[in-house]
Symmetry: C2
DNA sequence: GTCTATACATGGATAGAC
DNA sequence: GTCTATCCATGTATAGAC
C-alpha cells in the first residue's frame, strides 16, 4: 500500500480540497495572526470544521503544523516571485522599477506572509532552520537582480559596485516594513498606511529610492 | 497616607532598584523575547527573584504589565533619540549622515526594542493605542529631519520635494529590518548579519542609500 | 480517516497569612 | 509589601470507538 492509499471514495464533494490542505490553510492564517504561541489548536480545528484529533492525526503536533504552515507560506511567496518575467525588451531602469514595484505590491497583498516571517523572527528562526529546502527560496530573485544590474552596468546607467544581495535587502526592507510596522507607524504618525493615496505615494517613494541607490555614478 | 507610603526602611540594599522597576525590566526582556502570548508570568517572577503575587500587586494583570513594558520600551527609545545633537556646525549632508547612522546603530544596539515593536504589530497595535502619550514620541525626530532637509534645500544640495515623514519611514525601515529579520535573512542567504564586517558594510549602504534619496536634483 | 471524551500539564489570577 | 498555597480555566495531546 503506497502513499496514495486513498483507494476509493475520491470525494467529489464541493469543498473537496483535502482535509490536510484545509487544515494547513486555516493554520497559516491563524499562526500569521497570532504567532506560534498565540495560535490555538482548538481555534484551527473549529475554523476548519474539524476536530483537534484530525490535526494531530495529520500533523503530529502544534509545532509540526507550524513548520508546515511556515514552509507553505514561503513556497507561495516563491511561486509568485518566480512568475515575474522581467528581462526581454525592458531597459535596465524599467526592469528594476518593475522588480521593486512587484516586491512592494507582493508584500502589501500578502500581509499573512509578512506576519509569518515576523513571527518566525520572534522565534529567532528556530523553526525555519528545520526547513533546509527554503535556503534556495530567494536565489532566483537574486539571480534576476544580478542580471538586471549587470545589464545596467554594461549600459553605463548603473553603478558597478552594487552588491545584489545588499540591494535585495534594501528592497525587501522597504517593502516589508510598510506592512510589518503598519500599526505602530500609523498610530504614531497618524498617517493611515492603508489609505490608497498614502500607499501609492509610498510605493513611488520606495521605487525611487532604490533607483537612486543604483544609478550611476 | 499618600502614594509615598513606604514610610521607613528606605532600603539601602545593594540591589535597591525598586521592586516595580525590577519587575518591569525583566518583563521588558521577557515580552520582547517571546511576545505577549509567549511570555510567562511565572518566568518573569522567577527571573525577578520574586513571586507572581507581587506582579499582580504592582501591575494588576499580564496585559497591564505588557502595556507598561511597551511604554517603557518606547520611552527609552525617545531618550536616546532626544540626546542626539546634530545641528551646529555640520553641513546638511554630514548632519543627515549622522542621523541615519545613529538610527541604524540604535536599532542594532537595542534588539529588545525592535522585538517589542514587532510583537505589538503582531498584536495589530491593540495595546499601543492605549498609550496616547506615545503619539508624540517621534515628533522631535521628525522636526530634526525637517530642519536638516530645509537647510539642505536652502544650500541647494537636497531636493525640495522630500517629505520628512516619508524619509523618516525609509530610515526606520532600513534600520529596523536589519535587526527584525536578522534570523530569517541570515538563514536564507547564509550571510550572518551579526558579523562585524557584514554589519559595517550594511551600515554604509544604508547611509548611502538615504543620502542618494535626498540629494539634488 | 474521523469522531467524542478525557487525561494531564500549564498558566493566569487570587486568598489570606505575615 | 511580600510571601505560600491554591483555585480554576485553558490548552496540548491522546485513547478508543466507529
Amino acid at each position: 500500500m503506497t502513499k496514495a492509499s486513498r483507494s476509493k471514495t475520491a470525494p467529489a464533494k464541493g469543498d473537496e480540497e483535502g482535509t490536510r490542505a484545509r487544515i494547513l490553510n486555516v493554520a497559516l492564517q491563524e499562526f500569521s495572526r497570532l504567532g506560534l504561541s498565540g495560535a490555538r489548536i482548538d481555534a484551527i480545528a473549529a475554523e476548519s470544521g474539524l476536530n483537534k484529533a484530525m490535526i494531530y492525526y495529520h500533523f503530529g503536533s502544534k509545532e509540526q503544523l507550524y513548520v508546515a504552515a511556515l514552509k507553505e507560506s514561503y513556497q507561495r511567496f516563491r511561486e509568485i516571485e518566480g512568475a515575474l518575467e522581467v528581462d526581454g525588451a525592458l531597459e535596465p531602469e524599467q526592469a528594476l522599477r518593475k522588480l521593486v514595484g512587484a516586491s512592494f505590491d507582493f508584500h502589501a497583498a500578502h500581509p499573512e506572509f509578512v506576519r509569518m516571517v515576523m513571527g518566525e523572527n520572534i522565534n529567532q528562526g528556530e523553526y525555519i532552520s528545520k526547513i533546509p529546502e527554503l535556503r534556495a527560496i530567494n536565489h532566483s530573485a537574486i539571480a534576476l537582480l544580478e542580471h538586471v544590474c549587470q545589464r545596467g552596468v554594461a549600459e553605463g546607467v548603473f553603478r558597478a559596485d552594487v552588491d545584489p544581495v545588499d540591494l535585495h535587502m534594501s528592497i525587501s526592507a522597504l517593502s516589508f516594513y510598510n506592512v510589518s510596522n503598519r500599526h505602530t507607524f500609523s498610530f504614531i504618525f497618524g498617517r493611515d498606511l492603508g489609505a490608497a493615496d498614502v500607499h501609492a505615494a509610498r510605493r513611488a517613494s520606495v521605487v525611487d529610492t532604490i533607483l537612486r541607490a543604483v544609478r550611476a555614478p
